[in-house]
Symmetry: C2
Subunit: 390 residues, 2 copies
C-alpha cells in the first residue's frame, strides 16, 4: 500500500526530468457529482506523464497509485530534486513500462494531498481549507477525474491500466465503470473488498487520528496538526504492509545500539530496531501527508466493494473487455491470495482472458514496489501479450 | 492473550464463591531483588485458590494468567458479584482442572493492577503511586512472588503448571527457573520469544499510550488518565488475538444498524460492526486496566527470551523434569505453530516426555479461552497422564 521502499536514482533507464502538471475541471458553474450525490468543484488533479503519446494515441498506460502515493511515479522533478518516483523501478526507457514505447500517465487521486483536490485544499465557498466540509468520496469517484484527464489529453482507449493495493482497487473500478476503455489491465496485490480484519486495522488508525486532541474535528490547518494520531495510524499500517518473514529477516530481535533492555525506563518504545523503524515511518509520514486525507482515503478503501450494485463478483466483472493480469504475493497477509483468486475465478467464469500469478516473495504486501527482475519480466511479458493481441 | 470472551456463569460445575486473598513479602528491611538489580518492597500478590490441598500437598496446580488477566480464574467473588473467573470453563468440580481432585492456585502478576504490586500501587518511599518509579520487571521476576506464595502455602512440588499466551511464557520461565518443581507443564499458545512483528504490535500500543498528553510521564493518578492511548493499544491488541477467519465469520462487512456508509461524515470510525466491537473493547478496557501496567507488562513480554543466558533453546530447556504438553492453535497468527514446534523440538532433543497438539480452531490466539469440549478433553487427558506417571 506504500511507497516507502528506499530507492536509488539510476539515470540510466530513468524517465528523466518530469514536470508535475495540473488539470482542472468542474469549474463554476459546473460541479462534479459524486456517487453519494454531493458535489465538488472546481476539481484539480496533479499528474505526470512519461514517454510520448503515439500518432494514433494507442500507447497510453494509466498507473494508479496506492494509499499514500502521488502523481510522481517515475523520473525526478528537477536537477535539484532527484527524488525518484514511487514506481521508478518499473517506468522508464527499457523498463517494463517502457517509455520508449508507451506513454505512461499517473495522477494523484482526489481526496489526496499531493496536488489534487482534497480536504486540505481551499474550499472556494469559504476561502479556507475544506476540512470536514470536504464530501465523502469513494473509489468510484476517484476514477472520474482520471477519465476527464484522458478526455482532455484526447485519449479514447488505453493500452493498459495498472496499480497495486488501492491502485488495484482503482483498476477494478475502472474496469467496471469503463469496461471497454482499456486493452489490458494489471490487478496487483488487491481485493474485491476489505475483510473485517483489514477494516479493523484502518479503523484503529482513524480512531487514533480523531482522538488526537489536535484533530479538532478536522479543523487544524491553522494550528497544531494531529501528528501523533497520524503517526500511530501509519505505524499500524506499516506492520500490515510487511510480512512476518520480512520483519524477522530485517529486524528480528535486534536491539538499538547501546540500549540495555532492562534498565532504560525512560521510554518504553526505544529498545528494538523494529520500534525505531516504525517510529521513523510514522514521523516521516506526518511531514508529507495530511491527516484528513488519510481519513477520507482509508474510509473510501474500507467502503469499496466492487460487487456493490451487482448480484455478485461474477456479475460485476462480466462486461470487461480487457485482457487481465492478476497478481498476488505469497507473503501478503493484508490481501492474501484467496482474494486475488476470487477475482480470477470471476474473470474466468466470464470467459475473460486472464493470467494469474501468486508471486513468490518474502516482502509481504509491499512486494510490488520491490526491484525484482522476475517481477519486471512478468510485467513486461504481460504488456507484450497485449501487443500481440491487438 | 485476553480474557474477554463473554462467559456465562453455570453454577453446576462452578468453583463457587471464592475470596481473593493477599500475600505480602519482602517487607522492610527486606526487598525483592529484580533481575536487573533494582529492588522492590514490600511486594503483595493477590491470589485465589479453588479446591482443597491434599494431605501430602501433591495436588496443586498453578495457573498463570495472560496480559490483562488477574487472580480471579474461576468461580465468583460474592453472591452480588457473579462475574466468573477468566478460566471458569476449565476450573471447577468435574472440569479439566477438577477442583474435586486438585488444589488450583492463580495469582496476579507483579506489575499488574489487580491487587498485586504494580506501578499504580503506593510507593512507600513517597506515599504516592509508583508511576515510572516502579522498576522495570521481567517475566523472570514475575514468577518469584508466585514461588514465595507456594513456600508460604507449604507446597514444595506442583502437580502441574499451566497458562496460555503470556501465561505460557510464565510456564516456560518457571520450568527454566525451577526445573524440578512441577510434575507436569502445559505450555499453551505461546512463544520462546517475540518476533519482530509481535514486538511491533505491542510497541505501537505503547507509543499510543506515551504520546497521549494525559500520560504525563506516567504521573496521571490524580488527574485525567491516558484513556485514549490505552484504548488504542487495546484495539490493536484485539485484532491480533482474533483470527482473520473469526473476524470474517463474526463481523464480515456488516454495517452498524442505520448507518449509511457514504453520507455519514460525522465520524470515520462508526460504520462497520467490527469498528463498534473494537471500540467497545477499548472503552471497556480503560475502566479495568492501568496504562502504566500495560506499558510495564508488554515491555516484559517483548523483552522475554527464554534462551537468554543459554546457548540456544535446547540448552535453556535441558534441565526440565516435568512432563510437557505443548499446544498451538491453527488460526493463531500472533504465536503461530512454528513457535510451539521450536519448543517441542528442544524438549524432544532433551529427551523430555512431550505431547504436542496443533489444535484445529478458527478462534485465533484467544482459542484457549473458548469453551470447547475437545479442548477440555485434551487438558483432562494430559492431567490424567501425569497422574499415571507419578
Amino acid at each position: 500500500m506504500e511507497e516507502t521502499i528506499p530507492k536509488k536514482l539510476n539515470d540510466e533507464g530513468s524517465a528523466g526530468i518530469v514536470e508535475t502538471l495540473y488539470f482542472t475541471f468542474a469549474e463554476p458553474p459546473e460541479e462534479l457529482v459524486l456517487s453519494n450525490g454531493s458535489k465538488l468543484g472546481p476539481v484539480t488533479i496533479a499528474y505526470e506523464t512519461y514517454g510520448a503519446l503515439n500518432h494514433d494515441k494507442s500507447n497510453a498506460i494509466l498507473v494508479f497509485h496506492a494509499l499514500s502515493g502521488d502523481a510522481h511515479a517515475a523520473g525526478y522533478n528537477s536537477p535539484e530534486d532527484k527524488k525518484p518516483g514511487w514506481w521508478d523501478i518499473m517506468i522508464g526507457p527499457g523498463k517494463p513500462f517502457d517509455t520508449d514505447k508507451y506513454f505512461v500517465i499517473c495522477s494523484n487521486i482526489i481526496g489526496g494531498c499531493k496536488g489534487s483536490t482534497g480536504p486540505s485544499s481551499i474550499n472556494p465557498a469559504t476561502g479556507k481549507p475544506y476540512g470536514l466540509s470536504f464530501p465523502i468520496i469513494s473509489i468510484k469517484d476517484m476514477i472520474i477525474p482520471q477519465k476527464k484527464l484522458l478526455d482532455y489529453l484526447g485519449i479514447k482507449t488505453l493500452f493498459c491500466i495498472t496499480g497495486g493495493s488501492v491502485g488495484g482497487m482503482l483498476v477494478l473500478q475502472w474496469l467496471v465503470s469503463y469496461p471497454d476503455l482499456s486493452e489490458g489491465a494489471m490487478i496487483i496485490a488487491t481485493s474485491p473488498n476489505h475483510t473485517a480484519q483489514a477494516i479493523a486495522f484502518n479503523s484503529v488508525g482513524r480512531y487514533a487520528i480523531i482522538k488526537d486532541p489536535n484533530w479538532n474535528n478536522g479543523d487544524y490547518y491553522e494550528g497544531e496538526k494531529p501528528d501523533k494520531g497520524l503517526s500511530i495510524a501509519r505505524m499500524i499500517g506499516h506492520i500490515t504492509y510487511l510480512s512476518e518473514e520480512s520483519m524477522r529477516r530485517k529486524f528480528g530481535r535486534k536491539v538499538i545500539d547501546g540500549k540495555l533492555s532492562l534498565t532504560d525506563i525512560a521510554d518504553f518504545t526505544k529498545e528494538f530496531e523494529v520500534e525505531n523503524y516504525l517510529q521513523y515511518q510514522g514521523e516521516s509520514f506526518i511531514k508529507r501527508f495530511d491527516a484528513n486525507s488519510y481519513l477520507y482515503i482509508t474510509k473510501a478503501i474500507d467502503d469499496f466493494d466492487i460487487t456493490e450494485g451487482f448480484e455478485n463478483l461474477c456479475d460485476a466483472l462480466k462486461e470487461i473487455k480487457a485482457k487481465c493480469f492478476v497478481m498476488s504475493f505469497t507473503s501478503d497477509w493484508l490481501y492474501p491470495k484467496e482474494q486475488s483468486m476470487k477475482i480470477v475465478k470471476a474473470l474466468k467464469i466470464n470467459g475473460i482472458e486472464t493470467t494469474y500469478t501468486n508471486f513468490e516473495s518474502p516482502y509481504g504486501h509491499d512486494a510490488f514496489l520491490i526491484d525484482d527482475a522476475r517481477l519486471k519480466r512478468l510485467f513486461a511479458g504481460f504488456l507484450k501479450s497485449i501487443k500481440e493481441r491487438i
